[in-house]
Amino acid sequence: MSAQAEQELLRLDGIGVRLGGREILRDVSFTVRPGEFTGLIGPNGAGKTTLLKVILGLQAPTSGRVLLNGRPRQRRGGRLIGYVPQKLAIDPDMPLRARDVVALGIDGHRLGFPLPSAARRERVTEALRATGAEAYADARVGELSGGEQQRVMIAHAVISRPRLLLLDEPLANLDLRSEQGIVAVLARLAREQQIAVVISAHDMNPLMRETDTVVYVAAGRVAAGRTDDVIRTEVLTRLYGSQVEVLHVNGRVLVVAGEEPGEVREPIEAGVATEAAG
């Protein structure tokens, strides 16, 4: 194995996905290195969730291959990847405390039931502490706020010490302060535990300060690379296949549809549009 391949934790090579005759992803290639913070950015419906499911092995690609640690990924499972799915709708009646959810991260996929032990409890508390969620360790997870639930789910995902952490829209429907808190937790995990973090979002702004690389998804294709190299008018115009413009407004990035005769400028990222208007 070459030194370069060893440096790559994840490599996607020409991934294509076709579902029911519709092309969802086409020729997607990018790499992720250990400890790297990657933003998977794109408008809703661009194929971000499908791409994450391909990496997880939940969606078989029609073409291309996924390499984990330089080897073709096994079907599913394994300890290399931690995952926080989108739209967690946890019922308030769900009889699970935050610490029970995190404990399921250790061995929730196994049969039988575990015996409680001091070491196990300490390990769970440690994970909750790492994500700043220990204050509500004994609260029912369904009664927690959206941001608190995300912290618990991140603790659940990292307790088995994965090398790669995938999060699907974890900042959706969070207030500004919770957003910042979650991003800070993820940046710290990437730095201190050398976990590669891939986080999908329709608005790149909350992530801008932390992302090393960006994988921008639009119309089923991606542009990947260092953030400054990707978030550029020429690159995104080529990706969208129509004129778009990258604007910097008060330290925030806006991607808007470019001016063509008789067309009104419309922001492509809805979340950004409301921020800019307000």
Partner: protein, 308 residues
């Protein structure tokens, strides 16, 4: 002391054979239904449980026509119903209610026919009443070992799959990403559910069996914070309702109107419902406390920032 007890418990309660069978089977069934019921409520499959009960009615009626024990009729029909629901797509969120509803309608239609034919061929109407509304006091001692074994089997399935079922209930994609075979687990669970429903149908009747499955579980989930505590509480609530129901039914032979006794199923279901309603008297304060705490933590976290 003995005098007071006399007024609560009529003499001869525990020396009666049918009563002893009722207590034994009733306890096993209440524990099984409580434990399986908690997972049914968590997985949002209460409607599937109810439909399996309706399907079981058909099996019970068919078994009566064929002259075999109703339990086997309940069980075979229940498992067949679970298999059909799974085939139609009970695991998919949107297909679930439709699949369940279609199976339910077909089964009840057949049940109507079987019960009608049964009434024609037999001079008594008691059998159809027992199938629909049950009676713990007419359980044949021959079937007791099979009932207990089935209950233990359902409990074993739930025990082995408990963590996987919880992870799947938390989020199916998450479970699948961890290598859980979500569909296979769902099928195994539906079989355990069919067994629990069949047992419950023997004790309080096919139509009422959901009450023993969902009632204690729903009550337990309002008070218990962990899965083990919820299952324990549900088992205890179901058992208490069953025992008190038996005592009241036995006593009711001396009650109006005619000294013929009231239906034991009525007492069990009434007690379960009363227990559930009681949780609404105590809990609103505590729930609000939990939400307030979450809000307070949030404000603490974001003192300077007011989200738009």
């Amino acid at each position: 002391m003995g005098g007071i007890l006399h007024y609560i418990v009529e003499p001869g309660l525990l020396s009666s054979g049918p009563v002893r069978t009722a207590v034994l089977v009733g306890t096993v069934v209440a524990v099984t239904s409580g434990v399986v019921g908690v997972l049914t409520v968590i997985r949002g499959q209460s409607f599937a449980g109810h439909s399996l009960a309706d399907v079981a009615t058909t099996g019970g009626a068919g078994a009566f026509l064929a002259g075999i024990s109703q339990f086997w009729g309940f069980l075979i029909a229940g498992i067949a119903g679970a298999a059909i629901m799974e085939l139609i797509g009970v695991q998919r969120r949107r297909g679930r209610d439709v699949a369940t509803g279609v199976v339910l309608g077909a089964a009840l239609g057949a049940a109507a026919l079987f019960l009608y034919l049964g009434t024609l061929s037999s001079s008594t109407t008691g059998a159809s009443f027992t199938i629909l509304f049950g009676s713990m006091f007419v359980i044949s001692p021959d079937t007791v070992p099979a009932l207990i074994a089935s209950g233990l089997l359902a409990l074993a399935v739930v025990a082995v799959l408990s963590r996987v079922l919880l992870l799947t209930a938390l989020n199916p994609d998450l479970a699948a990403a961890r290598g859980v075979r979500v569909r296979a687990v769902g099928i195994a669970y539906l079989v355990a559910l069919a067994v629990a429903v069949s047992l419950s149908a023997v004790v309080i009747g096919a139509v009422l069996s959901t009450a023993l499955l969902i009632g204690p579980a729903a009550t337990a989930l309002r008070v218990a914070r962990t899965p083990v505590r919820a299952m324990t509480a549900a088992a205890l609530i179901g058992t208490a309702a069953t025992w008190v129901g038996i005592v009241l039914a036995y006593d009711s032979y001396y009650w109006p109107p005619q000294g013929r006794g009231w239906s034991v199923s009525f007492f069990v279901v009434a007690l379960v419902v009363i227990g559930y309603l009681l949780t609404y008297i105590r809990l609103p304060g505590r729930r609000r406390a939990g939400r307030d705490a979450a809000r307070a933590r949030e404000n603490e976290e974001a003192p300077a920032c007011s989200p738009a």
